[in-house]
Protein backbone atom coordinates (compact mmCIF):
# COMPACT_ATOMS: atom_id res chain seq x y z
CA UNK A 1 0.00 0.00 0.00
CA UNK A 2 1.40 3.37 -0.97
CA UNK A 3 2.31 6.18 1.40
CA UNK A 4 1.91 9.87 0.69
CA UNK A 5 5.07 11.79 -0.03
CA UNK A 6 5.11 15.57 0.32
CA UNK A 7 7.59 17.06 -2.12
CA UNK A 8 9.59 20.24 -1.48
CA UNK A 9 9.28 22.77 -4.29
CA UNK A 10 12.86 22.42 -5.67
CA UNK A 11 12.06 18.77 -6.45
CA UNK A 12 8.73 19.32 -8.20
CA UNK A 13 10.31 19.48 -11.67
CA UNK A 14 10.59 15.72 -11.23
CA UNK A 15 6.95 15.23 -10.19
CA UNK A 16 5.62 17.44 -12.98
CA UNK A 17 4.66 20.06 -10.44
CA UNK A 18 2.88 17.77 -8.00
CA UNK A 19 3.35 18.68 -4.34
CA UNK A 20 2.07 15.27 -3.17
CA UNK A 21 2.74 11.90 -4.77
CA UNK A 22 2.39 8.27 -3.84
CA UNK A 23 5.23 5.80 -3.33
CA UNK A 24 5.54 2.26 -2.03
CA UNK A 25 7.97 0.69 0.38
CA UNK A 26 8.45 -0.62 3.90
CA UNK A 27 11.51 1.48 4.62
CA UNK A 28 12.55 4.98 3.64
CA UNK A 29 15.15 3.45 1.29
CA UNK A 30 12.43 1.50 -0.51
CA UNK A 31 10.12 4.51 -0.70
CA UNK A 32 12.88 6.64 -2.20
CA UNK A 33 13.74 3.82 -4.58
CA UNK A 34 10.14 3.70 -5.72
CA UNK A 35 10.09 7.46 -6.13
CA UNK A 36 13.22 7.21 -8.28
CA UNK A 37 11.60 4.61 -10.49
CA UNK A 38 8.59 6.84 -11.02
CA UNK A 39 10.63 10.06 -11.27
CA UNK A 40 14.14 9.15 -12.51
CA UNK A 41 16.98 11.16 -11.00
CA UNK A 42 15.03 12.43 -8.01
CA UNK A 43 16.70 10.33 -5.35
CA UNK A 44 20.29 11.37 -6.20
CA UNK A 45 19.37 15.00 -5.57
CA UNK A 46 18.56 14.10 -1.95
CA UNK A 47 20.71 11.04 -1.23
CA UNK A 48 24.40 10.96 -2.15
CA UNK A 49 26.38 8.07 -3.56
CA UNK A 50 27.35 6.97 -0.03
CA UNK A 51 23.65 6.60 0.72
CA UNK A 52 23.66 9.55 3.10
CA UNK A 53 20.96 12.16 3.28
CA UNK A 54 22.58 15.27 1.79
CA UNK A 55 23.38 18.27 4.01
CA UNK A 56 20.51 20.73 4.21
CA UNK A 57 18.03 18.01 3.22
CA UNK A 58 15.69 16.65 5.87
CA UNK A 59 13.27 13.78 5.58
CA UNK A 60 10.44 13.23 8.06
CA UNK A 61 8.42 10.04 8.42
CA UNK A 62 5.23 10.34 10.43
CA UNK A 63 6.41 13.75 11.63
CA UNK A 64 9.69 12.38 12.99
CA UNK A 65 13.04 13.12 11.40
CA UNK A 66 14.52 10.10 9.65
CA UNK A 67 18.25 9.92 10.30
CA UNK A 68 18.90 6.84 8.18
CA UNK A 69 17.35 5.23 5.16
CA UNK A 70 16.49 2.14 7.22
CA UNK A 71 13.70 4.04 8.93
CA UNK A 72 10.52 1.92 8.69
CA UNK A 73 7.57 3.40 6.82
CA UNK A 74 3.99 2.26 7.46
CA UNK A 75 1.30 2.56 4.80
CA UNK A 76 -0.52 5.32 6.64
CA UNK A 77 2.64 7.35 7.24
CA UNK A 78 3.28 10.65 5.52
CA UNK A 79 6.80 11.26 4.26
CA UNK A 80 7.98 14.85 4.01
CA UNK A 81 10.95 15.75 1.80
CA UNK A 82 12.34 19.12 2.88
CA UNK A 83 15.16 21.35 1.59
CA UNK A 84 16.66 24.20 3.59
CA UNK A 85 15.61 27.57 2.25
CA UNK A 86 18.97 29.27 2.86
CA UNK A 87 20.63 30.95 -0.11
CA UNK A 88 21.31 34.33 -1.62
Amino acid sequence: MACTVHVASPLRDYTHGAARVQAEGNTLAQVLGDLDRRYPGMRFRMIDEQLRIRPHIRIFVAAQEALTLERPVLPKDSVHLLCALSGG
Binding site: P40, F44, M46, E49, Q50, R54, H56, A84, G87
Partner: protein
Amino acid sequence: MATVTLWVGTRKGAFALRADSSRRSWQLSGPLFLGHVIHHVVQDPRAPRALLMAAKTGHLGPTVYRSLDRGRKWQEVLAPPAFPKAGPDQVARAVERVFWLTPGHSAQPGVWYAGTSPAGLFRSDDGQSWAPLNEGVAADFLPDPTVAFGHDPHCVTLHPLRPDRLYQQNHCGVYRLDRPARRWQRIGMKMPAKVGDIGFPILLHPREPDTAWVVPMDGTRVWPRTSVGGRPAVYETRNGGASWRRRDRGLPRSRAWFTVLRQALCGDNQPRPGLYFGTTGGEIWASTNTGGSWRCIAQRLPEIYSVTAALH
Protein backbone atom coordinates in the same frame (compact mmCIF):
# COMPACT_ATOMS: atom_id res chain seq x y z
CA MET B 1 30.97 32.11 -41.59
CA ALA B 2 29.34 30.13 -38.79
CA THR B 3 27.17 32.04 -36.33
CA VAL B 4 28.35 32.35 -32.76
CA THR B 5 26.35 31.72 -29.61
CA LEU B 6 27.89 32.45 -26.23
CA TRP B 7 26.55 30.24 -23.47
CA VAL B 8 26.83 31.97 -20.10
CA GLY B 9 26.72 30.00 -16.86
CA THR B 10 25.76 32.10 -13.86
CA ARG B 11 24.90 31.72 -10.23
CA LYS B 12 21.22 32.14 -11.07
CA GLY B 13 20.72 30.36 -14.40
CA ALA B 14 22.02 30.05 -17.94
CA PHE B 15 21.87 32.68 -20.66
CA ALA B 16 22.62 32.63 -24.39
CA LEU B 17 24.01 35.50 -26.42
CA ARG B 18 23.50 34.98 -30.15
CA ALA B 19 25.47 37.06 -32.62
CA ASP B 20 24.58 38.19 -36.10
CA SER B 21 26.95 37.18 -38.89
CA SER B 22 29.22 40.17 -38.25
CA ARG B 23 29.33 39.61 -34.45
CA ARG B 24 28.39 43.28 -34.01
CA SER B 25 24.85 42.72 -32.80
CA TRP B 26 24.06 40.32 -29.96
CA GLN B 27 20.69 39.02 -28.82
CA LEU B 28 20.34 37.92 -25.20
CA SER B 29 17.97 35.08 -24.34
CA GLY B 30 17.23 33.41 -21.06
CA PRO B 31 17.43 32.73 -18.31
CA LEU B 32 17.18 28.97 -18.64
CA PHE B 33 16.92 27.10 -15.36
CA LEU B 34 16.37 30.34 -13.46
CA GLY B 35 17.56 29.95 -9.87
CA HIS B 36 19.83 27.01 -10.60
CA VAL B 37 23.60 27.44 -10.30
CA ILE B 38 24.92 26.78 -13.79
CA HIS B 39 28.64 26.10 -13.72
CA HIS B 40 29.35 25.24 -17.35
CA VAL B 41 27.54 24.90 -20.69
CA VAL B 42 29.63 23.29 -23.41
CA GLN B 43 28.93 22.46 -27.03
CA ASP B 44 30.00 19.06 -28.34
CA PRO B 45 32.29 19.95 -31.27
CA ARG B 46 31.85 16.41 -32.61
CA ALA B 47 28.06 16.81 -32.73
CA PRO B 48 27.42 20.57 -32.80
CA ARG B 49 23.71 20.37 -32.04
CA ALA B 50 24.50 18.77 -28.68
CA LEU B 51 25.40 20.59 -25.47
CA LEU B 52 26.00 19.56 -21.88
CA MET B 53 25.23 21.69 -18.84
CA ALA B 54 26.58 21.23 -15.30
CA ALA B 55 24.07 22.44 -12.72
CA LYS B 56 23.31 22.54 -9.04
CA THR B 57 20.00 23.56 -7.55
CA GLY B 58 20.05 25.12 -4.12
CA HIS B 59 20.90 22.39 -1.67
CA LEU B 60 20.02 19.52 -3.96
CA GLY B 61 22.74 17.25 -5.28
CA PRO B 62 24.53 18.11 -8.52
CA THR B 63 23.42 17.04 -11.96
CA VAL B 64 24.11 17.35 -15.67
CA TYR B 65 21.65 18.22 -18.42
CA ARG B 66 21.96 17.47 -22.10
CA SER B 67 20.45 19.16 -25.14
CA LEU B 68 20.41 17.63 -28.61
CA ASP B 69 18.83 20.62 -30.36
CA ARG B 70 21.20 23.51 -29.75
CA GLY B 71 19.80 24.28 -26.33
CA ARG B 72 16.07 24.46 -26.98
CA LYS B 73 15.16 21.44 -24.88
CA TRP B 74 17.14 19.88 -22.05
CA GLN B 75 17.00 16.45 -20.43
CA GLU B 76 18.72 15.36 -17.24
CA VAL B 77 21.34 12.64 -17.81
CA LEU B 78 20.67 9.19 -16.36
CA ALA B 79 23.67 9.08 -14.02
CA PRO B 80 25.57 12.27 -13.09
CA PRO B 81 29.18 11.89 -11.88
CA ALA B 82 29.29 10.12 -8.53
CA PHE B 83 32.08 8.52 -6.51
CA PRO B 84 31.98 4.77 -5.86
CA LYS B 85 30.37 3.52 -2.67
CA ALA B 86 33.16 3.46 -0.08
CA GLY B 87 34.28 0.29 1.66
CA PRO B 88 34.64 0.09 5.45
CA ASP B 89 38.24 1.39 5.43
CA GLN B 90 37.83 3.98 2.72
CA VAL B 91 37.00 7.68 2.79
CA ALA B 92 33.38 8.15 1.78
CA ARG B 93 33.19 11.04 -0.68
CA ALA B 94 30.23 12.53 -2.47
CA VAL B 95 30.27 14.87 -5.45
CA GLU B 96 29.06 18.25 -4.30
CA ARG B 97 29.17 19.96 -7.66
CA VAL B 98 30.21 19.30 -11.24
CA PHE B 99 31.98 22.48 -12.29
CA TRP B 100 33.85 21.60 -15.49
CA LEU B 101 32.81 19.75 -18.65
CA THR B 102 35.18 18.94 -21.51
CA PRO B 103 34.42 16.82 -24.60
CA GLY B 104 36.88 14.07 -25.42
CA HIS B 105 39.09 13.88 -28.49
CA SER B 106 37.47 14.08 -31.91
CA ALA B 107 38.34 10.39 -32.39
CA GLN B 108 36.24 9.53 -29.31
CA PRO B 109 32.66 10.53 -30.14
CA GLY B 110 30.46 10.64 -27.10
CA VAL B 111 33.30 10.75 -24.56
CA TRP B 112 33.12 13.57 -22.01
CA TYR B 113 35.19 14.51 -19.00
CA ALA B 114 33.78 16.17 -15.90
CA GLY B 115 35.67 17.90 -13.10
CA THR B 116 34.06 17.91 -9.68
CA SER B 117 34.32 19.27 -6.20
CA PRO B 118 35.54 17.52 -4.06
CA ALA B 119 38.36 16.93 -6.49
CA GLY B 120 37.45 14.29 -8.99
CA LEU B 121 37.84 13.69 -12.69
CA PHE B 122 35.19 11.59 -14.37
CA ARG B 123 34.70 10.21 -17.84
CA SER B 124 31.44 9.14 -19.30
CA ASP B 125 33.05 5.73 -19.89
CA ASP B 126 35.88 3.77 -18.24
CA GLY B 127 38.83 5.91 -17.18
CA GLN B 128 42.62 5.59 -17.50
CA SER B 129 45.52 6.05 -15.08
CA TRP B 130 46.88 9.51 -14.15
CA ALA B 131 50.20 10.82 -12.75
CA PRO B 132 51.29 14.21 -11.28
CA LEU B 133 52.82 16.74 -13.71
CA ASN B 134 53.96 19.65 -11.56
CA GLU B 135 57.75 19.97 -11.87
CA GLY B 136 58.85 23.59 -12.16
CA VAL B 137 55.56 24.97 -10.87
CA ALA B 138 55.82 27.19 -7.81
CA ALA B 139 53.79 26.37 -4.71
CA ASP B 140 54.97 28.96 -2.23
CA PHE B 141 51.90 28.52 -0.04
CA LEU B 142 52.92 24.97 0.86
CA PRO B 143 55.21 24.16 3.80
CA ASP B 144 57.28 22.06 1.37
CA PRO B 145 57.06 23.71 -2.03
CA THR B 146 58.99 20.87 -3.69
CA VAL B 147 56.24 18.29 -3.27
CA ALA B 148 55.09 16.23 -6.23
CA PHE B 149 51.51 17.40 -5.97
CA GLY B 150 49.34 19.76 -3.96
CA HIS B 151 49.81 22.66 -6.39
CA ASP B 152 47.05 25.00 -7.46
CA PRO B 153 46.52 24.97 -11.23
CA HIS B 154 43.61 27.21 -12.12
CA CYS B 155 43.42 26.35 -15.80
CA VAL B 156 45.43 23.89 -17.89
CA THR B 157 45.02 23.65 -21.64
CA LEU B 158 46.78 21.98 -24.52
CA HIS B 159 46.86 23.19 -28.08
CA PRO B 160 44.60 21.15 -30.38
CA LEU B 161 47.07 21.31 -33.27
CA ARG B 162 50.13 20.65 -31.12
CA PRO B 163 48.92 18.48 -28.25
CA ASP B 164 52.37 18.30 -26.66
CA ARG B 165 52.27 22.08 -26.06
CA LEU B 166 50.52 22.80 -22.75
CA TYR B 167 49.89 26.08 -20.98
CA GLN B 168 48.85 26.61 -17.40
CA GLN B 169 47.53 29.59 -15.46
CA ASN B 170 48.39 28.68 -11.92
CA HIS B 171 47.81 30.35 -8.55
CA CYS B 172 51.57 30.99 -8.75
CA GLY B 173 52.06 32.18 -12.32
CA VAL B 174 51.72 31.35 -16.01
CA TYR B 175 53.60 28.34 -17.38
CA ARG B 176 54.29 26.46 -20.59
CA LEU B 177 55.32 22.85 -21.11
CA ASP B 178 56.55 21.22 -24.31
CA ARG B 179 56.43 17.47 -23.98
CA PRO B 180 58.33 15.14 -23.75
CA ALA B 181 59.86 17.58 -21.24
CA ARG B 182 58.35 17.24 -17.78
CA ARG B 183 59.37 20.59 -16.33
CA TRP B 184 57.13 23.62 -16.74
CA GLN B 185 58.67 26.98 -17.70
CA ARG B 186 57.27 30.08 -15.99
CA ILE B 187 56.58 32.30 -18.97
CA GLY B 188 54.66 34.73 -16.77
CA MET B 189 57.93 36.19 -15.52
CA LYS B 190 58.00 38.12 -18.80
CA MET B 191 54.81 39.99 -17.83
CA PRO B 192 55.28 43.50 -16.43
CA ALA B 193 56.25 43.24 -12.78
CA LYS B 194 53.58 45.72 -11.70
CA VAL B 195 50.91 43.55 -13.33
CA GLY B 196 52.20 40.12 -12.40
CA ASP B 197 51.13 36.78 -13.79
CA ILE B 198 48.40 35.74 -11.41
CA GLY B 199 44.96 35.01 -12.81
CA PHE B 200 42.30 32.41 -13.37
CA PRO B 201 41.79 31.65 -17.07
CA ILE B 202 44.11 31.13 -20.01
CA LEU B 203 42.94 30.89 -23.62
CA LEU B 204 44.81 29.66 -26.68
CA HIS B 205 44.50 30.76 -30.28
CA PRO B 206 42.76 27.90 -32.15
CA ARG B 207 45.43 27.69 -34.85
CA GLU B 208 48.57 29.34 -33.39
CA PRO B 209 50.21 27.34 -30.59
CA ASP B 210 52.40 30.32 -29.63
CA THR B 211 49.47 32.68 -29.03
CA ALA B 212 47.64 32.85 -25.73
CA TRP B 213 45.66 35.30 -23.64
CA VAL B 214 45.41 35.77 -19.88
CA VAL B 215 43.47 38.11 -17.60
CA PRO B 216 45.79 39.24 -14.78
CA MET B 217 44.32 39.76 -11.35
CA ASP B 218 45.53 41.20 -8.07
CA GLY B 219 47.13 38.40 -6.09
CA THR B 220 48.73 40.55 -3.42
CA ARG B 221 48.55 39.98 0.31
CA VAL B 222 44.87 39.13 0.86
CA TRP B 223 44.22 38.16 -2.75
CA PRO B 224 41.52 40.55 -3.92
CA ARG B 225 41.42 38.69 -7.29
CA THR B 226 40.24 41.86 -9.04
CA SER B 227 41.77 43.86 -11.90
CA VAL B 228 45.24 45.05 -10.99
CA GLY B 229 44.99 48.66 -9.89
CA GLY B 230 41.34 48.75 -10.90
CA ARG B 231 42.39 48.75 -14.59
CA PRO B 232 41.10 45.67 -16.40
CA ALA B 233 43.28 44.24 -19.16
CA VAL B 234 43.84 41.16 -21.22
CA TYR B 235 47.46 40.26 -21.95
CA GLU B 236 48.54 38.50 -25.11
CA THR B 237 51.62 36.56 -26.13
CA ARG B 238 52.33 35.57 -29.73
CA ASN B 239 55.65 33.87 -29.09
CA GLY B 240 54.90 31.26 -26.48
CA GLY B 241 55.38 33.64 -23.58
CA ALA B 242 58.71 35.23 -24.54
CA SER B 243 56.95 38.59 -24.49
CA TRP B 244 53.52 39.93 -23.65
CA ARG B 245 51.40 42.81 -24.87
CA ARG B 246 48.62 44.63 -23.03
CA ARG B 247 45.24 44.61 -24.83
CA ASP B 248 42.82 46.96 -23.11
CA ARG B 249 41.43 49.32 -25.73
CA GLY B 250 37.76 49.86 -24.96
CA LEU B 251 37.97 48.47 -21.42
CA PRO B 252 37.46 50.86 -18.49
CA ARG B 253 40.60 52.88 -17.88
CA SER B 254 40.17 53.13 -14.13
CA ARG B 255 38.02 52.28 -11.14
CA ALA B 256 36.84 48.96 -12.56
CA TRP B 257 37.46 45.90 -10.44
CA PHE B 258 36.68 42.93 -12.62
CA THR B 259 36.99 39.31 -11.57
CA VAL B 260 37.07 36.84 -14.46
CA LEU B 261 36.78 33.25 -13.28
CA ARG B 262 38.70 30.42 -14.90
CA GLN B 263 35.91 29.29 -17.19
CA ALA B 264 34.77 32.77 -18.16
CA LEU B 265 37.24 33.51 -20.99
CA CYS B 266 36.68 31.95 -24.40
CA GLY B 267 37.21 32.33 -28.14
CA ASP B 268 34.99 31.48 -31.06
CA ASN B 269 37.43 29.81 -33.52
CA GLN B 270 36.33 32.02 -36.43
CA PRO B 271 38.91 32.95 -39.13
CA ARG B 272 39.60 36.07 -37.08
CA PRO B 273 38.88 34.66 -33.60
CA GLY B 274 36.54 36.59 -31.37
CA LEU B 275 37.49 36.75 -27.71
CA TYR B 276 34.98 37.01 -24.90
CA PHE B 277 35.02 37.20 -21.13
CA GLY B 278 32.39 37.42 -18.41
CA THR B 279 32.82 39.05 -15.01
CA THR B 280 31.46 38.20 -11.60
CA GLY B 281 29.73 41.58 -11.83
CA GLY B 282 27.52 40.23 -14.62
CA GLU B 283 29.11 41.81 -17.70
CA ILE B 284 30.18 40.19 -20.96
CA TRP B 285 32.96 41.86 -22.95
CA ALA B 286 33.74 40.99 -26.55
CA SER B 287 36.51 41.60 -29.04
CA THR B 288 35.97 40.65 -32.67
CA ASN B 289 39.50 41.66 -33.67
CA THR B 290 41.38 39.20 -31.51
CA GLY B 291 41.83 41.56 -28.58
CA GLY B 292 42.50 44.75 -30.52
CA SER B 293 39.53 46.45 -28.95
CA TRP B 294 36.74 45.52 -26.56
CA ARG B 295 33.12 46.44 -25.97
CA CYS B 296 30.53 45.42 -23.44
CA ILE B 297 27.79 43.31 -25.05
CA ALA B 298 25.75 42.40 -21.97
CA GLN B 299 25.26 43.83 -18.51
CA ARG B 300 23.26 43.21 -15.38
CA LEU B 301 23.51 39.43 -15.58
CA PRO B 302 23.96 37.43 -12.37
CA GLU B 303 27.47 36.52 -11.20
CA ILE B 304 29.09 34.83 -14.20
CA TYR B 305 30.85 31.50 -13.72
CA SER B 306 31.49 30.51 -17.33
CA VAL B 307 31.37 31.69 -20.93
CA THR B 308 31.74 29.28 -23.83
CA ALA B 309 31.22 29.71 -27.55
CA ALA B 310 29.11 27.46 -29.75
CA LEU B 311 29.28 27.61 -33.53
CA HIS B 312 26.49 26.70 -35.97
